[in-house]
Amino acid sequence: MASTTITPVSTQVGPGTDGGNGPRPPHQNNLNTYRGGRGGARGAGPRGGRRGGDNQSYRSDGRPNQRARRRSNHAGQPVAPIVPPPPPDLGGGGSFGNRLTKDAENVEGDRSGKQREEGGQTGTEEDVEAEVCFICASPVVHNSVAPCNHRTCHICALRLRALYKTRACAHCRTEARFVIFTDDATKRYEDFVDADFQQVDEMLGIKYEQREIYDDTVLLLRYNCPEHDCDVACSNWPALHHHVRREHNNKVMCDLCTKNKKVFTHEHELFTVQELRKHQKFGDDNPGAVDQSGFKGHPECGFCRERFYGDDELYTHCRDKHEKCHICDRRNPGRQQQYYVNYDSLEQHFRQDHFLCDDRECLDKKFVVFESEMDLKAHQLESHPNGLSKDARRDARRVDISTFDYRAPHQDNRGGRRERDGRGRGRGRDPNIEPLPQSTAQPMRRDELAYQRQMAIQSAQSVTARTFGGQLTSTNPHAARPNSGNQSTVTVPRHDTTTNTSTPAIENLNLNAIDDAPAAVPALTPQEQARRLQHAAVMDRASTMLKHDQTKVSDFRSQVSSYRTSAISASQLIDSFFSLFDVSSADLGKLVKELADIYENEAKRNGLLKAWNDWRAINEDYPSLPGSSSVLPGSSAAAAGTGGNRVLRLKNSTAQSSRSAVSKQGSWGNVSATPLPSMPAASANRAGAGRVGPTPWVGPSSSSRPSPTPSRPASTAPVAGKANATAADAFPALPAAAKPNTLIFGLTRGTVRWDDPRSGGNPMNPWGNANGSSSSGTATPSAPSVGVDAEPELGKKKGNKNKKQTLYKFG
């Protein structure tokens, strides 16, 4: 950029642009002409004088320098470059700290204002940019040059490389294996030769032209205490926490910030305990302060009472630990995210609002739930034909056309529903003929059924090429799975409940076997194949974690192979992972362990695992500052000596950011609509989840307010894979046999069916019913329906039926 201002040395500009010599009397100019010329070539006078001359800060020398130029211009004294530059006065080295201090102390406005004023004179915009980093708008202390010859300050470059773990240029996104940290403001990347570099950091991909730049850089990566005038650097996060607490009046750091926020250690904030609470809950809003950050606090999971760094993290947590209803989501993609605390609670919702297959096997399988009764019937005919009597089967095949309604899709849902309620009573099946088998009729109230059917038709009309036959075949892969040997006993629970007790165990076994299958396969196949599979798995994981960034993946490969060939030590390998991956240490741990498994060499494997455990033991799950651990020892002489003063200056120079940079992820927009997932009955259900209690499914409050529920480790929430086991655990005490079938039949048949849908809801729920009859009373199960009722109605507007296969979209 500055190259545009290259001027012949012999012109009048030459001496004028000599930086750092401004204050000197003009007659000294000839001593500096050569350098002056160089300065001119750099286009940024002030920078030219950086290393030469007096101890003046290069930032503050802009003004005298310009004055000097004007003066010499007036003198009109052409000077030729005769005298070679004196060996740099080495003021730079000695005054290094001084310079930094001045940088920090200088009022930015003063300087840049001046610069702008002068800008007109020199006629180059670049003059301004050479001084102020384009990216962070702070004064450039050292330059970073990328192969694309784009420049930033070294802090921005380091931030991207060490904290954001990206090697992309801040200007053009070009990936670069190396950047050069230099004090030369104009030298092009390709003009540097290896001999120019005092230090090379392979891990961060930085080549340092000056030792002092290296020291400055390493300084940033230490675990510096955030306290403004404390120069202590700790060896790791826990030590820093300890130091802060002990030395600074019990101050604390925000754990979430230290783990997630992409700032240097000293840029974090210290809080008192009260401040921390406020910070986490409400953010750092401080009306009237100049350093408003817009940070609004760390969002909390209403189920677990656990806070997360940002909405993205909360979203990930909810996705992994809690459940969502795929049917509701599909029907209404735009709505607010709604979660259920665990599968039990989701199952309750399925029962209430959708068509859950009540077959024991399907319950264990989970997510065997349908959007319409018709689909459920199809599933039952296909998967559990033996459970139904001949009559029932015939019945199930019958589609009750009478309730089909060809109303236009745009009708008002709520109104329409009410109307149908009324009509439904007069229509439909004759109540005197044999009732539908419960398996089909149970999960929904009559009016609901009718409504569902109508919706099914409507969606059939709007969704092309959906046919009944297609529905049958495409229900889902599990429906098509042949029943295992216990067919005769696998029945709809209420028909044949006594014989049912043995099936869960068998089913669990089956499922477990299936779950284990992928892991078991390698063992069965030849060793080589197994190894290859593992290889593929590791590479797969690695490239996923690297977001399929090819350069990074190949970096990863080369690091791993250099460990294999003992070119680097295990701890170096771990360090390099940290500069490569931008993931939590838990994820990285998985990768390391998988990787270790591949090594056939026992020593290598153990070495890697040991290095990993060592690292983890020290740093828990804090982010590492790449290089800090491995680089430090080498540099400790330099850093330790001057570190104390320097780090304070450093803090000054980044002071602004340390106060302001309370972070919020840029991509919050995606999920910003859902600061907290709303969970109506779900949160409430939590209390009874997995337990057989007097009020098993009933939320104390069915409102959408997340109710304060006892927190439990989120990790125990069932996740699809291992869910089978937990499900069995969760429902152990409900022997289906205990169910008084007659009662149910009675209810379904006579009273309930045409009754108020509310009370009709009861018998649908076998669990609820069992409980009801055994303990506290049947009133309870109906309660949730009140709360949840309204929402699904809205949701039913659009059914997208032909996506049946996505039933198992989970995790």
């Binding site: 950050s293 817009g294 602004q656 950011s657 919020k664």
Partner: protein, 152 residues
């Protein structure tokens, strides 16, 4: 880091405003939230209207992209027709964002998008289809909305 850069860009934009745009801070204390009043560009169906936009700069700006949304309802393929009014700008996507991109570029781009919607990159499929297949109807609708929602 964010503060300085934002302050710099803000003062630059105050000094040299973009044509047809007025930029202000809803809350003086919070540099991260900008309000932009943008005149419907001449020759576009939005001419004559004035649209309020909200620019939100993350604390990690410029390393993370800002987000831009229309507070005024607008009939446009690239603006979501909901209460968020999110504008789809390629350069604002996390994987395309460059820390060197400046806000004036973002705003200029937004304005260019008003002049020439990018139907292939649309968030409102229906409007995009109409724009491609039945331009007349699109212009009519856009004008009507402008009249209704973006009155001066």
């Amino acid at each position: 880091m964010a503060q300085k850069r934002i302050a710099k860009e803000y003062s630059e934009l105050q000094k040299k405003p973009l044509e047809g745009m007025k930029i202000s801070l809803p809350s003086e204390a919070d540099m991260h939230q900008w309000q932009i009043l943008i005149d419907g560009p001449k020759g576009s169906p939005y001419e004559g209207g004035v649209f309020t936009l909200h620019l939100s700069l993350p604390t990690e700006y410029p390393f993370k992209p800002p987000t831009l949304s229309f507070k005024t309802k607008i009939y446009h393929p690239n603006v979501t027709n909901d209460d968020k009014g999110s504008m789809c700008l390629g350069m604002l996507r996390a994987d395309e964002w460059k820390p060197s991109s400046k806000i004036d570029a973002v705003l200029s781009f937004a304005k260019a998008l008003l002049l020439e919607p990018q139907a292939d990159d649309a968030v409102e499929g229906g409007i995009a289809r109409e724009y491609k297949e039945n331009k007349k109807e699109f212009v009519k609708n856009a004008k009507a909305w402008t009249k209704q929602y973006a009155k001066r």
